[in-house]
């Protein structure tokens, strides 16, 4: 291809179009072009200058697999050859040189014919006519004037050789740089992303340098070659030049060094698509980067289109992004290290018409199954995945989060881990506890339920439940417990009267236990227990329901013989007035046996043992008169005086008055005990306020007939309560952190003194009705109004000192008053403590404001106002303390109800005598002065003076160590001063006062 036919065009004209079948084995671009050219020839289209022909493919037929043949339409364009600017300049220079030469020829022309010919040529050139090829010798001569500066042919060849050698060297450098880069990336050292980028960047920079050098060498070679060509042509008039061969060899060498033979043609064609003929040769042979740069710099769209049309993505990318800086072959060599793949295997970008593409998306159902995704084609069977692909179990996601729930069975609590609280935004309700080595917190059960309901259908979570036993302070040793014990908790004994069929007796409390009808018949004593007759139906019901689910029991039927009426317990038997209605029945009984107590046949066998109990009986009676009624030997009962029993046939009036019935199952009586002894419901509410002590006492005992039916011993027993605890154990529970094992069974003989056992069991066997009445008194005491309480506190002591006013419930009243006063005084102590603290705080504020006042004169009045206000508040607190102390004194001074005993019991002694300890006469005198000052300041309503006097008093007691009661609250704290107080400064005393106030606030209610 001649140098002057370098073409760069941006215009083209269509010369041919057709359909090309793509089936068959893939072929090279060149072959494909040739086939198309064959098609054109067959159709009579000239294929002259094929390098000017550009083929544009429209892409594969968009029938999407419907046809069996893959084809594409194509269009062939002929690119118009328009010279580049350089070419135009070169041609202009050529013309100029030609004109110069012709002018010289004209000067030297002798013949007129020659002169005319020369003139015609000059005219033609000036008019832009192309000089015919037959005149190419002249043209060449003009175009390629032999430059006198050109070197001779040999030196040019030698230079070309040197440059070729240099080119090889530089190319070697390029290869070396690539190899070094690869070695560094593949080295043993693991590089970070940043390091890898740095390596590649450094390598690229070096390659750029080498490339620039290669380009320079190529240009030099081109220049040399052109010179040699000129020389060759110059010599071609006569003989040929060897420069072509030399150049060709060098050209081939260069081409081979960079691009394999088989690619030369392809690359040539690629470069030819850039319409640079000379560069195509050089680029194909030598990869002339400079020409490609020119092509890119002119934004030759056709080049890009051609590159795309030729399906050469690499070229296109280079042309568009890198402006074709790097020779294709070099780039290919760099990246296809295992050899440049044939162009035919490089993917061809198929230009899909956009409309067809859209249709394809819309008509997705028409796509072949192998192309469509799995969810659409029902018959689609996906190809087998890679061998290393693992099946993922559907349903449970990988690494599901486990929520651990711990159920504390001992305390019925639920615990969760902390991250569970965080995850579900819940708040723990206890401090940290370690469970199974994990930190857990107690959760609200409602929160736990909410969390579990959320996780129920969530596959991302799984819940684990675990039962734990965190233990309680008191735990029953499991091995000691028998779950299926034959010893039932409750044993119900039904006494069967052998003398009278179908007559049964049970203990009195069972009437309430089973909500039975009111007892029939008189009260009888069986084994010392008060019993009443029950109906046959009730007895059967009791036996039938023994194994109920909520409160099972064991029924034991014992045959008894009720032969005579036994003398009842000390207390007069209580008979429901309704029982009078059944007196007939009782009369019948009288006729029979004049029954006394029932004799348990079992007891007869125990007669020997009963002898022992005689001794204990005496002890028992000494403790609890009630126990005297419990005869040790049933036989002794026969010897009783047999005083009128509950039933006497001769006198109906023997039936004692029954002021009330038996609780819920009774309906008679004017005064009905409350159904629930602990609710207080049922007793009448007194609307009037009883002001006098007599009326208050009457109110407490009204309707209970306390004097007749309740013995003093019973009251004491009642007061003792049902649970007794030693002080030692009480203190241990309070102060120590022991945990305990409850051991119910010991493989040993356990004994205790009978007297002790009887003492503690007395409470259980006082009559229930006595207990109920005493409890009623307690309720009534609690219901007294404030004014009644005041009267009671003030007057009861004197009232009770009168023998006529002695009441069996006196212990109850005294105990109640004592407890009430104790609670009240404790409240006073707490209030005093608060007042001390308040005074301390206010004193600090006063000091602070006084300091500010001394500095900030402008706001002096404001600080003064604040100080006054603080003094006012502090004075009020002083007065409050004084008042509370007087209240306490009122109760402590009298100590009518043994309040001091309570304090003694708690280890709190009240030191109340002033002047007995520590203070000498002078100190007493000083104390009197200080107290008078306080009184005067109170009288004068001088707030500041009140506070100052109070503080001075406190400082006085602090100075002298042990504080003695000011007639009211005794407070004691450690001595703070050993030395004479005159050595202390005012500030020291101020500090001491404040310290004292703080200590006093803390210890205001403690004494010892």
């Amino acid at each position: 291809m001649s140098e002057d036919r370098i073409v760069k065009n941006n215009t083209r004209e269509e010369v041919y179009s057709g359909t090309y079948i793509l089936d068959g084995l893939p072929i090279s671009i060149e072959e494909q072009r040739n086939r198309i050219f064959e098609m054109m020839k067959k159709d009579g289209i000239s294929v002259q200058n094929p390098e000017e022909l550009e083929i544009i493919y429209e892409g594969a037929d968009s029938d999407y697999g419907e046809s069996e043949t893959l084809s594409t339409k194509f269009t062939v364009y002929r690119k118009h050859m328009t010279p580049t600017k350089k070419q135009e300049q070169d041609e202009a220079l050529k013309e100029l040189e030609m004109l110069k030469a012709l002018r010289e020829q004209l000067k030297n022309a002798v013949d007129s014919h020659d002169r005319e010919q020369i003139m015609e040529k000059i005219t033609a050139i000036s008019e832009g006519e192309v000089i015919p090829e037959e005149d190419s010798a002249v043209a060449d001569e003009v175009v390629n004037p032999i430059d006198s500066e050109l070197e001779d042919k040999d030196s040019l060849e030698e230079d070309i050789k040197k440059l070729s050698h240099t080119y090889d060297v530089e190319k070697g450098k390029m290869t070396q740089i690539v190899e070094e880069e690869q070695a560094e990336l593949d080295g043993d050292t693991l590089l970070s992303d940043e390091e890898i980028s740095a390596v590649r960047l450094g390598s690229l920079k070096e390659r750029e340098k080498v490339l620039a050098e290669l380009n320079s060498i190529v240009r030099d070679i081109n220049g040399k070659r052109r010179g040699a060509t000129l020389l060759q042509k110059d010599e071609s008039l006569g003989q040929g030049s060897t420069s072509d061969t030399v150049i060709s060899e060098d050209e081939e060498k260069l081409a081979k060094a960079i691009v394999p033979d088989e690619e030369r043609v392809v690359i040539q064609e690629d470069v030819a698509a850039e319409n640079d003929v000379a560069v195509q040769e050089d680029a194909a042979a030598e990869n002339d980067v400079a020409v490609q740069e020119d092509a890119a710099a002119e934004n030759d769209e056709a080049v890009q289109e051609d590159a795309a049309a030729e399906n050469d993505v690499t070229v296109q990318e280079d042309a568009s992004s890198d402006n074709g800086k790097y020779p294709l072959a070099i780039i290919q060599k760099l990246y296809f290290t295992e050899g440049i793949p044939p162009m035919s295997t490089i993917a061809r970008p198929i230009r899909l018409p956009e409309t067809n593409y859209v249709v394809a998306i819309k008509n997705i159902e028409t796509l072949p199954a192998k192309i469509v995704g799995t969810s659409i084609a029902p018959d689609y069977t996906p190809d087998k995945g890679p061998a290393d692909m693992e099946d993922v179990q559907v349903g449970i996601p990988e690494e599901a989060i486990t929520v651990e729930v711990y159920h504390d069975e001992d305390n019925d609590e639920v615990y969760l881990l902390k991250d569970t609280f965080d995850r579900f935004h819940k708040i723990p309700i206890s401090e940290e506890k370690e469970i199974n080595g994990k930190k857990c917190y107690q959760a609200d059960k409602a929160d736990v339920e909410e969390i579990l309901s959320k996780l129920e259908d969530d596959n991302h979570f799984q819940v684990s439940h675990e039962t734990v036993h965190l233990g309680k302070k008191f735990s029953v040793l499991p091995e000691e417990v028998k779950k299926d014990s034959d010893d039932l908790v409750e044993r119900i004994v039904i006494y069967h009267d052998t003398e009278h069929d179908n007559v049964a007796y049970v203990r009195k409390h069972l009437f309430q236990r089973f909500s039975l009808e009111k007892p029939v018949g008189p009260e009888v004593l069986i084994n010392g227990a008060v019993c009443y007759e029950i109906s046959e139906e009730d007895a059967k019901a009791i036996m039938k329901n023994a194994n109920n689910d909520y409160s099972p029991y064991r029924v034991e039927v014992r045959d008894v013989q009720i032969d005579k009426i036994e003398e009842p317990v000390v207390e007069t038997p209580v008979v429901d007035p309704d029982l009078e209605a059944v007196s007939d029945e009782s009369l019948d009984r009288e006729e029979s046996t004049g029954e006394a107590s029932a004799v348990d046949s079992d007891l007869e066998a125990a007669s020997d043992e009963s002898l022992d109990r005689e001794e204990s009986t005496e002890e028992t009676s000494a403790v609890d008169p009630d126990m005297e009624a419990v005869s040790d030997e049933p036989l002794n009962r026969e010897e009783s005086t047999g005083e009128a029993s509950a039933v006497d046939s001769d006198d109906e009036e023997i039936l004692p008055d029954a002021p009330y019935s038996f609780g819920p199952f009774g309906s008679g009586g004017e005064d009905i005990l409350p159904d629930d002894p602990y609710s207080g419901i049922g007793h009448e509410e007194y609307e009037d306020v009883y002001e006098s002590i007599d009326e208050i006492i009457d109110k407490l005992s009204e309707g209970l007939d306390l004097e007749k039916n309740i013995q003093e011993g019973a009251v004491k027993t009642f007061q003792n309560g049902r649970v007794n605890c030693t002080k030692l154990f009480f203190d241990e529970l309070k102060n120590d952190d022991w945990e305990y094992n409850i051991v119910g069974a010991l493989p040993a003989i356990i004994t205790a003194s009978a007297a002790f056992l009887k003492k503690i069991s007395a409470h259980i066997i006082i009559s229930l009705d006595s207990k109920e009445r005493l409890e009623e008194v307690t309720y009534r005491l609690q219901d007294l109004s404030e004014s009644e309480l005041e009267t009671l506190f003030a007057e009861y002591h004197d009232y009770s000192s009168n023998e006529e006013n002695k009441s069996v419930i006196e212990p109850l009243i005294v105990d109640f008053i004592r407890e009430y006063q104790y609670d009240m005084i404790e409240d006073y102590f707490a209030s005093i403590k608060d007042s001390y603290q308040e005074i301390g705080s206010l004193k600090s504020l006063i000091s602070e404001n006084e300091q500010k006042k001394s500095v900030d004169k402008e706001n002096e009045s404001k600080y003064e106002e604040s100080i006054e206000d603080y003094y006012r508040q502090a004075a009020m607190q002083v007065l409050e303390i004084k008042k509370l102390r007087e209240e306490v004194s009122y109760y402590l001074d009298n100590d009518a109800y043994g309040l001091s005993q309570r304090y003694l019991m708690e280890g709190r002694a009240l030191i109340r005598d002033v002047g007995v300890y520590r203070l000498n006469d002078d100190e007493l005198a000083e104390l009197a002065i200080l107290e008078q000052a306080l009184s005067d300041s109170i009288e004068a309503h001088d707030d500041k003076a009140i506070v100052d006097s109070f503080i001075q008093l406190e400082a006085f007691f602090g100075k002298h160590g042990k504080r003695i009661s000011m007639g009211s609250l005794p407070i004691e704290y450690e001595e703070t001063i050993d030395s004479d107080s005159s050595e202390l400064s005012d500030e020291d005393i101020e500090d001491m006062i404040k310290g004292c106030l703080d200590e006093i606030a803390d210890d205001s209610h403690k004494t010892l």
Binding site: K473, F474, S475, V476, L477, E480, V481, K482, K483, S485, D487, L488, V489, E490, R507, H509, G528, A529, A606, E609, R613, V630, K716, N720, G721, R722, V723, N724, C725, T726, L728, F729, F730, D731, L733, K734, E739, Y740, N741, I742, V743, G744, A745, L746, P747, A748, I749, I750, T751, A752, S753, A754, F756, L757, K758, K759, I760, S761, I764, I765
Partner: protein
């Protein structure tokens, strides 16, 4: 208080050896009609807890004998009483 159980003792005899235990508390139950005594020899169990022994007796029986408590419900009742005592002590 009139009713003072301080310094009261209970003897445990096992294998011929007598151990004197301090009474800690007593109570009775109208439900079971029994009296209960809690006592201790101040020994500590293998689990590090102090041992409290509890026995019951029927006050209405001719012979007052301390019996073992094996029924779970009775032991639960004892537990409740102790819980009450603990609560009152720490109130």
């Amino acid at each position: 208080m009139d009713f003072n159980i301080d310094n009261e003792k209970v003897q445990i005899e096992k294998d011929g050896k007598a151990i004197e235990c301090d009474v800690l508390f007593t109570f009775d139950s109208e439900e079971t009609m029994k009296c209960y005594i809690g006592y201790t020899d101040h020994s500590v169990g293998a689990n590090g807890r102090k041992n409290i022994y509890v026995s019951s007796y029927d006050p209405l029986k001719p012979k007052l004998e301390l019996e073992n408590i094996t029924d779970e419900r009775e032991l639960a009742m004892v537990n409740d009483v102790l819980q009450q005592l603990d609560a009152e002590a720490n109130a």
